[in-house]
């Protein structure tokens, strides 16, 4: 069901944990599947993400996308981190099964939520960053069977 990369990141998740006094923390959840993701960012004065950690309550894909997303944003500037979309995370993981696409959205939103928290704490505006929803529902319509 899952690619080897997903399984690798699930079995050996990178960057699990907390950052004390983090520059930004974001927690997002998906009411439908009940999964929760928390992202911690440590951002230096130049706006470069020095460290990134996560905790996730969720399925295999949720854990793997959290892990991959933290890897992808580490060392990037805040602006560059905005380009780490769920598609980028999925590609880096060699894809996800269709029912699991929303798990990668959780990762994208988690990063955005942490960035939003960082911006608010520092009273700055990050161009292109929208206030994240803390509840991600797909809104997909069920066909009638």
């Amino acid at each position: 069901m899952y690619s080897e990369k997903v399984m690798d990141h699930f079995q050996n998740p990178r960057n699990v944990g907390e950052i004390e006094n983090a520059s930004g923390v974001g927690t997002v959840g998906n009411a439908k599947c009940g999964d929760i993701m928390r992202i911690y960012l440590d951002i230096d004065d130049n706006g470069v993400i020095q460290d990134c950690k996560f905790k996730t309550f969720g399925c295999g894909a949720a854990v793997a996308t959290s892990s991959m997303a933290t890897e992808l944003v580490k060392g990037k500037t805040v602006q560059e981190a905005l380009l780490v979309t769920n598609k980028a995370v999925m590609e880096a993981l060699d894809g996800l099964p269709p029912v699991k696409v929303h798990c990668s959205l959780l990762a994208e939103e988690g990063i955005h939520a942490a960035l939003w928290d960082y911006a608010e704490k520092n009273g700055i505006v990050i161009e292109g960053l929208k206030k994240p929803k803390n509840d991600i529902s797909e809104g997909e319509e069920e066909e009638e069977y």
């Binding site: 399984m7 927690t27 599947c33 993701m37 905790k55 309550f57 969720g58 399925c59 295999g60």
Partner: protein, 392 residues
């Protein structure tokens, strides 16, 4: 790595003796059971034998057993075709919130056809109160469908009591016994069961075969129309090897029932007690007394089911989180929600269903593995983090 298979409620390994019994009917006695020649007679005799065994097992007459393609078809047939046959009498059906989707989705379909369905609540152990059933009966109630035992949490429902109520009110009573057949004693007359669904692959029989028991006199229509098979009630060339295999599996299951379930019950209780003693924040789901001998269902707080399943799989342990059939969906199990669990706890459920081959060593290995996995997943769970911080 030894495989530890603890998902016997999803499906079972076909018993070697069952396969052995089926084999001649693929290549030697392959005749169509509805034909006149001797080759077909072999098939017909084999089908009769299987029907006799199954009927005897539940105290039914052989001609009241109709073979289908499995539990889902039996459930669909029982509900849709009874609704059709009795719609002049009324359009109200009573069922419960914890039925299998084969019942629930069929009921939703019937609602779209103009029927009215009452979905009874269950208590925190998943038990249906017979008094609730009685209270729900209306003059236009035509059918009560309550499962014999729940496939997720193992709770056994008070079928005899519900049957008596249905009988007293002149309402038909169907039970989905897919998990109970061959596992619990069933007597259709004593329990006043009018229709009963079962599926071969849940008792070490083959997949793709099931039956619907229909009491003589019940005016149900056909569901699959066509040829004159199964006393003109269920069309389709008889699946002779499947029927033979189901018959053999039933024979074996009935012969071993008492001893086998006693063993399973002991292992089940041992597993539950280790969970409760050794893992904090665990909740056992389902009734502790009225419970399938082979079912353990537990919620491990702060962790999520699928992650546990994948990590168990890496250790060669097969388990399930909610019903196997719901795995296409993201919703937490409707059964766990019906017994009152909040979403995030329902998401952390694990179902472990034992079989005749399950050993104490396997149970120990599995509990040890779960302990480790739960600890690991909690260490990365934001819910657990919050919980610990709040406690401090």
């Amino acid at each position: 790595m030894e495989l530890i298979y603890l998902d016997n409620a999803a499906t079972t390994r076909t018993d070697e003796r069952v396969v052995e019994a089926m084999l001649p009917y693929f290549t030697q006695y392959y005749g169509n059971a509805s034909t006149i020649y001797a080759l077909g007679e072999e098939s017909r005799k084999a089908v009769t034998r299987a029907r006799d065994i199954i009927a005897a097992g539940i105290g039914a007459k052989p001609e009241e057993i109709y073979f289908t393609a499995g539990g889902s078809e039996s459930d669909n047939w029982a509900l849709k075709a009874t609704a059709e046959a009795y719609k002049e009498k009324g359009k109200h059906i009573i069922t419960s919130k914890i039925e299998h989707h084969a019942i629930l989705h069929t009921c939703e379909w019937l609602e779209r056809q103009g029927f009215e369905v009452t979905y009874l609540d269950v208590d925190e152990n998943g038990c249906i109160n017979p008094a609730d059933v009685e209270a729900a009966i209306r003059p236009d109630t035509i059918l009560i469908s309550i499962m014999f035992a729940n496939n997720e949490i193992g709770t056994i429902e008070p079928i005899a009591e519900i049957g008596a109520i249905a009988r007293a009110h002149g309402v038909l009573f169907h039970t989905d016994a897919v998990q109970a057949f061959g596992q619990e004693p069933i007597q259709v007359d004593e329990m006043n069961i009018d229709m009963l669904s079962s599926s071969g692959h849940k008792l070490n029989g083959p997949k793709g075969i099931g039956f619907l028991y229909i009491r003589k006199g019940v005016k149900i229509r056909s569901f699959v129309h066509g040829g004159a098979q199964e006393r003109k009630r269920r069309a389709g060339t008889e699946n002779v090897p499947g029927i033979v295999g189901f018959g053999k599996a039933a024979e074996l299951a009935f012969a071993s029932m008492e001893e086998r379930t006693a063993r399973e019950r002991e292992l089940r209780d041992y597993m539950i007690s280790r969970f409760e003693k050794e893992i904090p924040y665990v909740k056992i789901n389902g009734d502790r007394e009225h419970r399938l001998a082979n079912n353990v269902n537990a919620c491990f707080r702060f962790v999520e089911g699928e992650s546990m399943l994948i990590m168990l799989d890496m250790k060669g342990i097969c388990a399930s989180s909610g019903s196997a059939c719901t795995s296409g969906s993201l919703d937490p199990s409707h059964v766990l929600l019906a017994i009152g669990l909040p979403h995030e706890i329902a998401h952390g459920s694990l179902r472990l269903t034992l079989g005749a081959d399950t050993t104490k060593e396997q149970i120990d290995t599995t509990v040890d593995a779960i302990k480790e996995i739960v600890a690991h997943l909690r260490s990365m769970s934001p819910l657990y983090e919050d919980f610990v911080k709040n406690q401090q």
